[in-house]
Symmetry: C2
Subunit: 519 residues, 2 copies
């Protein structure tokens, strides 16, 4: 292709495609118009428009988790990138790979300090592993290939490529072929024997994260647990966890600090495999931040960038578990059918009974969802995605990306009302792309987690102004009409029966469907 | 107050109040719970909750422009700040002063790299003039006072104070009294005589910005124009412009580059007073970025940080204009009452006839509003606010701040549909605070400016995929039901008569009211 005359923007699009990028989540502006033109006439890249950039970056996060390859975003200068920053933070913490294309003024214009001039690299750096400013049309293609390569460093990285507008419109673009995808690092062989010895009964823990939570890898962990008697757990927030009937069940280190301390108290020896040592989400006055017992031995066999399948395989062999049947394999089984008004328990039961085979559950239910895990474990095989960076507003965008990555699977989004409102514009993109997403919004009409956190940080008796600052009931948000105003069909449910019917309708539909769950 | 035992959070709130801060636009999280508790029991600070941080920072921008003093924001760690970043960019470019309070983990927790850990100072720096991390409860009060002082450096600055959570909950807070407000700098005395001489007829231009656009300062500019025959203009985007019947009229340097070049072509000599030399918003292939004619002499008498009233007074004296009656004083006068279906001209006429005395018009009408200025000039005295940073999504939040700063004035927001969607969550805060804001959303169902920019950058014949990427009509956004879903009364208008009635209703109401204008 390199002998055809093309501009930098065209070389960008061709090079991204040559390097395996198939989707662009976009909210472009003037400085990106040549990219829009290139996307128009070059086949092979699906462009998905978002009304706010946080939707675009969150969608790219969800896409990576399910497609296991990066999408691109197209963002307008520093402010467009800034709007997408918090979901890039979440993606970074989840180990998702994303290629951000950010337009920039031509260098002659930057010197003039125009209204939209800003320090784009400075804005990008806190959330990016790789930041590069391309100097000319001739380098754009190669830089695009390098950006994709950077995004694919295991488990996945944020790569931000800044393209001055003159590099887009100038002729002389050169398409760059696919670069070699980076290999994961080796696990720590020197720790292997020690780790195998450390796992020897119920006071030892194998803590898993990242790719270790795939179906095949969990099966190996189940064998090790059966053979050694060790416990297995995952982190509280997982980028992607395979679960349901027939798979090895794995619990999570709980979010509430007192419960987490209690769960981790028995463990003298902890082997980390793609997970990090357990710490609290926040610091609390007078409470420890490190959640493991004092003096516990912590061995890092493999971090998230390592080949976790190879590490688990070696550990299975080293513990002599290769022929052991895995422990914790979940038998199919659903809770009894609940009825009457919804409470947190009955809500979990209705959801458990509704999860379809192969569903992708995007979970941002914060307080409401803390009891969902045990009740849903016997549902048909499904995939569960958590918010890994704690910046709320990830789930509606991530559902877009998951649905685009897996058009044959049902996507369910479980979100609090407070969380949903950060990136509510995502509903419009779901409607526009007719994505198969069923959204449950748990309308408890407050930042309930924060009302709890007031107590956790030692504010015993909050006054009415504090409670009001954490309440969403003045006025009540009407999610049904809000969804319809953006083209998404919707209904409301206050009882088990209503929610059951609503979820049937939502999951039967091939497009997006929103349920306001009144709890 | 310093002898009372209090924690750092309490010393923060007391010190902000002592330094003149009366409002906090907030979306707090766990690490800010002690500030929430302090705001609860300390009188004197109005807390305004936003559902997304871009609403909080945009509101602080609008507040500063009208109150001429800073508000504070309370944001949750790096991601909360990140969500507010693009409207901080706009505020920075507008010369608005804002005091951001950003919670941070306790230092012991930062070392653990928790999910919400990020480089907060790194995120803050591109949009902040002043960034500081307070080391202890004892320093929080003084740092708060310094942050306010930094925010008040003329014309206004972004100050970001990062407060680790242990500084909030630890006892030993010390309230800091008001610091001396910083004085504006002197204008450039050495340029005064030269500037006065340069203004000598229609090929000379006095270009005004910032505080030079107040009623009294414009009157002086009108005298100078009458005396010398020079032209007067403002920048395209003004933080705040006083206009209407009885005031000196001032045109703006047009946004479209070809028209701007034509308007500025006659000027050999340009005196800058609070304005910057005219440049294009964007670089375009084959077009100049500097909009003034080659060889034009440009004299900077005063930049935006100078005492512009003093500069204008001196220039009035130096040009011998002190006793000259000002030119360009606008006679009261409204366009004839239009009727029938709305087009851009009739839309401007209806709006002109509806602007109430003392209204604040927050303008983000992008393409639709380019013809509003000439038609509305004879309306009763009013204030006009533009987006100065070009990051769209400023107007709904800024209207919140303007309405809180000026509860006795009517606020009108003029916004495109694309712009409105970036920060649509602002409607809920308008409802919650029952703010007197009438919102007109111009529903042209596309990013019309970008469809035009495709042509400007040389993409002559965009294909269907490019047009689709810039269209908002799949599905149509229903702003009436969207507004109601967030508690804001709303209606739709497609004819002059409908819009007239709708604006009467909206302006008669004491709370928020939204009109979807179909054009």
């Amino acid at each position: 292709m390199n002998d055809t005359q093309m501009n930098g923007a065209e070389s960008l699009v061709h090079s991204l495609i040559a390097n395996g990028i198939e989707v662009c989540f976009t909210n472009p502006g003037t400085s990106e118009m040549h990219f829009v033109a290139a996307l128009d006439h070059i086949a092979g890249m699906r462009s998905v428009l978002a009304l706010q950039e946080g939707v675009a970056t969150g969608a790219a996060d969800g896409y990576y988790r399910m497609a296991r390859k990066p999408a691109s975003t197209l963002l307008h200068l520093g402010p467009g990138l800034a709007n997408g920053l918090s979901n890039l933070h979440n993606a970074k913490k989840a180990g998702s790979g994303i290629v951000n294309i950010v337009g920039e003024h031509a260098p002659s214009h930057i010197a003039l300090d125009a209204p939209l001039t800003s320090d784009i690299a400075g804005i990008a750096r806190p959330v990016s592993h790789w930041v590069h400013n391309s100097p000319s049309a001739a380098t754009v293609g190669e830089d695009a290939a390098k950006a994709v390569q950077a995004a694919m460093v295991a488990p996945g990285q944020i790569a931000t490529l800044i393209l001055p507008s003159d590099t887009a419109w100038t002729e002389g673009g050169i398409v760059h072929d696919a670069l070699e995808p980076p290999a994961p690092t080796d696990f720590d062989q020197s720790v292997l024997e020690k780790a195998a010895e450390a796992l020897d009964g119920p006071s030892s823990l194998l803590l898993l994260g990242g790719e270790a939570l795939s179906e095949a890898n969990l099966e190996m962990a189940g064998r090790i647990a059966a053979r050694t008697g060790c416990k297995i757990l995952s982190e509280w927030s997982n980028a992607r966890l395979e679960r349901g009937a027939g798979r090895v069940e794995i619990g999570r280190v709980p979010y509430p600090i007192d419960i987490a301390l209690k769960v981790l108290e028995p463990f003298d020896r902890i082997v980390l495999l793609g997970a990090r040592a357990p710490i609290g989400f926040f610091a609390y006055p007078g409470k420890p931040a490190v959640l493991t017992r004092e003096g516990a031995e912590i061995l890092t066999l493999a971090d998230a960038g390592a080949d976790l399948g190879a590490a688990l395989h070696a550990l299975t062999t080293a513990t002599g578990a290769s022929d052991t049947a895995p422990a914790h394999v979940v038998a199919p089984g659903l809770p009894d059918r609940p009825s009457g008004p919804l409470d947190l328990d009955r809500l979990a039961q209705v959801i458990a009974r509704a999860i379809p085979e192969d569903a992708i559950v995007v979970d941002e239910s914060v307080t409401t969802g803390r009891a969902f895990f045990p009740v849903t474990k016997g549902a048909p095989k499904h995939t569960w995605l958590n918010n890994c960076g704690g910046s709320i507003g990830y789930s509606l965008p991530a559902a877009i990306g998951a649905a685009i990555a897996c058009p044959d699977r049902k996507v369910m989004t479980l979100t609090g009302d407070g969380s949903a409102m950060y990136t509510i514009q995502a509903l419009w993109t779901m409607a526009r792309e007719n994505l198969d997403v069923t959204v449950l919004i748990f309308a408890n009409r407050r930042y309930k987690i924060l009302q709890g956190e007031l107590t956790n940080v030692g504010v015993g008796n909050p006054g009415p102004r504090a409670i009001d600052m954490l309440s969403l009931d003045r006025p009540d948000l009407q999610f049904v009409s809000m969804a319809r105003s953006m083209g998404v069909e919707a209904c409301e449910a206050s009882t088990c029966e209503e929610l059951e019917t609503a979820m049937e309708d939502g999951l039967a539909s091939s497009g997006p469907y929103l349920i306001q769950v009144n709890i």
